[in-house]
């Protein structure tokens, strides 16, 4: 009965509530001096207009493990600061994932009550099963990091405490 649906849902949805302003969350996603401070620690370069280029640059630690200079690339589809960013996203650190091509990533930022901001990350991963496993954190035991839930937990800690998670 559910077979039609079973095949088609390849989207992953992540949500985190952060005690910070929408602007602070936006900056943490789009500014290199912030993006290098949590998660995989890649400095991002993004031209915030439709068609603008997005590049996630490998950190020194990633490069020491043989990562290419540009770890992730893509293109901006929609930028509405500080509310919404839609972009394509392709992982270049692994040949198989690079071969899966561009996926679609949407950040939605909504101001909530009591100075808490809701950040929802929707990653559409059709035709990208290897990348889907990576961003779901399923490759964490191999040292590939904990995917979106790890990145967003780390981002929450950074914005709320000014510090990174330990370890």
């Amino acid at each position: 009965m559910a077979t039609a649906n079973e095949a088609k849902v390849t989207t992953q949805v992540y949500r985190v509530y952060i005690k910070a302003t929408p602007q602070a969350v936006w900056d943490a996603i789009t500014k290199p001096e912030w993006t290098e401070r949590y998660g995989y620690g890649a400095r991002t370069e993004v031209d915030l207009r439709p068609g603008g280029a997005f590049r996630g640059l490998s950190s020194a630690a990633m490069r020491s493990h043989g990562a290419p200079e540009v770890a992730v690339d893509g293109q901006v589809i929609e930028a509405d600061p500080p509310r919404k960013l839609v972009q394509t996203w392709r992982m270049l650190m692994d040949a198989q994932m690079a071969g899966e091509g561009f996926t679609r990533l949407t950040y939605e930022i909504e101001e909530g009550k009591g100075g808490v901001t809701k950040l929802t990350v929707t990653h559409e991963l059709e035709g990208a099963p290897s990348l889907a496993a990576l961003v779901a954190g399923k490759l964490e035991p191999t040292g590939a990091g904990g995917g979106w839930s790890w990145v967003l937990s780390d981002l929450k800690t950074l914005l709320e405490t000014g510090a990174r998670l330990e370890g």
Partner: protein, 121 residues
């Protein structure tokens, strides 16, 4: 401190949501395959549609399930971030100590096992 209170309230909702076997079952089903409709989830439980809806609402309130519209359907997605946040803040913190306690227990048990039988009584 206000920040602390807010965090604790969030964590409380997650722990309460997880403290129920039906809700853990629903999360496991979504972990196995994400983005399901209420009808699909309901078909795996011996429970009324209303009962399943109530459990899903608790999971949503705790942020463990996020719903998305897709055409005429409402799809339920597992959101693992709150569990990750609890893991990172509460469990990771104690892991080293717990691991070393287990290591000590193991050493102690093995040491005892090596004692000659006659002396153990």
């Amino acid at each position: 401190m206000v920040t602390y209170y807010v965090d604790v309230a969030d964590d409380d909702r997650v722990f309460k949501a997880l403290a129920d076997p039906t809700r853990r079952f629903l999360l496991d089903r979504l972990y196995a395959r994400d983005g399901r409709t209420l009808t699909e989830l309901e078909s795996e439980l011996a429970m009324t549609r209303f009962g399943v809806m109530k459990h899903l609402r608790v999971l949503e309130g705790a942020g463990l399930v996020v719903t998305r519209r897709s055409g005429r359907e409402k799809l339920h997605f597992l959101n693992p971030v709150p569990i990750r946040v609890i893991h990172d803040r509460w469990i990771d913190k104690y892991r080293e100590r717990r691991a070393s306690a287990l290591a000590e227990l193991k050493n102690e048990l093995e040491r005892q096992a090596w004692q000659p039988r006659t002396r153990r009584k």
